[in-house]
């Protein structure tokens, strides 16, 4: 009975992770696309400006060549919005949660590297100028932990029939 309940711990935790991470990604992507931290009027030109400004922050990590910096800066915010929506939709959840985990792991590695190298730069996490500090690493670490747990639970849940589906053992 407990196992088939739609409100078991794993399912609730998975939903919380999905909502939290979807919120974070939607906010991060929208902030970069709309230039929230820069007080720009929403328009196509301000979005372009905001993305070029984000490119400066990506470049300050000194990880990528200029063409790759522009590519990341112009695709990452859109990818973040798309991922946020996909997490909320729940379509192919194990696939997208894995992708999210890898993405956050990438962010985490970049932030840790920059901190270890003593690069005094802006994090570039949410478009608004925000210095990269130990707290940034802690926050990204917590998000990574959340993403890993979400992925594990998503895989575990995907192996079981949905409790509300007609094919569940209780209804059959």
């Amino acid at each position: 009975m407990m196992q088939s309940s739609p409100f078991n711990f794993r399912r609730v935790f998975l939903w919380i992770c999905r909502i939290v991470l979807a919120g974070v990604f939607l906010y991060a992507g929208s902030a970069k696309l709309l230039g929230w931290g820069l007080h720009l009027h929403p328009s196509i030109s301000s979005t372009k400006l905001s993305l070029f400004y984000f490119a400066l922050q990506v470049d300050s990590y000194q990880l990528l060549p200029p063409w790759a910096v522009q590519f990341v800066a112009h695709t990452l915010p859109l990818a973040e919005v798309a991922i946020g929506l996909l997490l909320l939709l729940g379509w192919l959840l194990p696939v997208w949660t894995t992708f999210v985990t890898l993405l956050i792991a990438g962010f985490f590695a970049s932030v840790v590297r920059a901190y270890a190298l003593g690069l005094q730069i802006n994090c570039g996490c949410f478009a608004k100028p925000e210095p990269l500090t130990g707290l940034t690493i802690l926050r990204d670490g917590l998000l990574l932990l959340l993403a890993v747990l979400m992925t594990v639970f998503a895989f575990q849940e995907s192996r079981k029939p949905h409790p509300w589906s007609a094919t569940s053992p209780e209804h059959s």
């Binding site: 820069l38 007080h39 720009l40 196509i44 030109s45 979005t47 372009k48 400006l49 993305l51 070029f52 400004y53 490119a55 400066l56 990506v58 470049d59 300050s60 000194q62 200029p66 910096v69 522009q70 112009h74 695709t75 859109l78 919005v81 798309a82 929506l85 996909l86 939709l89 379509w91 690069l119 005094q120 730069i121 802006n122 100028p129 210095p131």
Partner: protein
Amino acid sequence: MNRRRIMVALLGVGLIGVAVLLFPSIHKPGEAPAQQVEQSQAIPQPRPVETVNTTPAPPAALPLIPPVITVAKAAPASPQASISVNGVNDIDPAKAFGSKSAPLIMEIYSDFQCPACKQLFTTTTQKVMDNYVNTGKVYLIHRDFPLPMHAYSRVAASYSRAAAHIGKCDEVEQALFRNQEKWEMTGDVVGTVAAALSPAEMKKVQALVEGKTLEPLIEKDKQIGMTVPVNQTPYTVLHTKSGQTFPVVGFVSYDVLKSFLDQLVAQK
């Protein structure tokens, strides 16, 4: 389930469409300025040591006469005479370069002993000077922000400021940044500056440093920096004519900065 898939597919197509619309290679915003860059590189421009003059734009009836922007290196000014340009106050004209009517103002807070500042100066700032300052697009302000953790950066700032006030800012800044590793080991800031100047010029610089008349200007830069707030160097602030400000922290490569500057210059 099918509805969901259709929704996700539509969403994906929409996002890809927006990505294509916004991706820089489609629009190539830097194309026009790139031509000007090539021109400015082909014809080396002398750097006069007098005030900035911009000729008025020709009327529409005279399209054959191109607007000539005479860009000048900062004028040596009397100590402590600060100016304001487009809402940016307390500018020491001896440490500012380019046309005051430029669409962009770029303030760079730097410390002569900071390695990232050296990297920014030797790679990015020099190209910005050649391609944006000397073409009248950017008014560049060097602000001194000597960090307390660097033993000789304040001395270097004093000598650089003094050199700027006899019209030798670029020579001394180049010498200090390019030989950073040497003088930060030995503390021989004076020798490094002397190697970049003639004995007569060095005498003037030495007199200005010993007179301490320029120290308030360095302090003023630091105070302004703390209000920004600058908490690390290099720290660049870009100001547009419409009053927007864009802080850029740390080193940034020229190519990436160029794309952003082109966007700002193209803004109406």
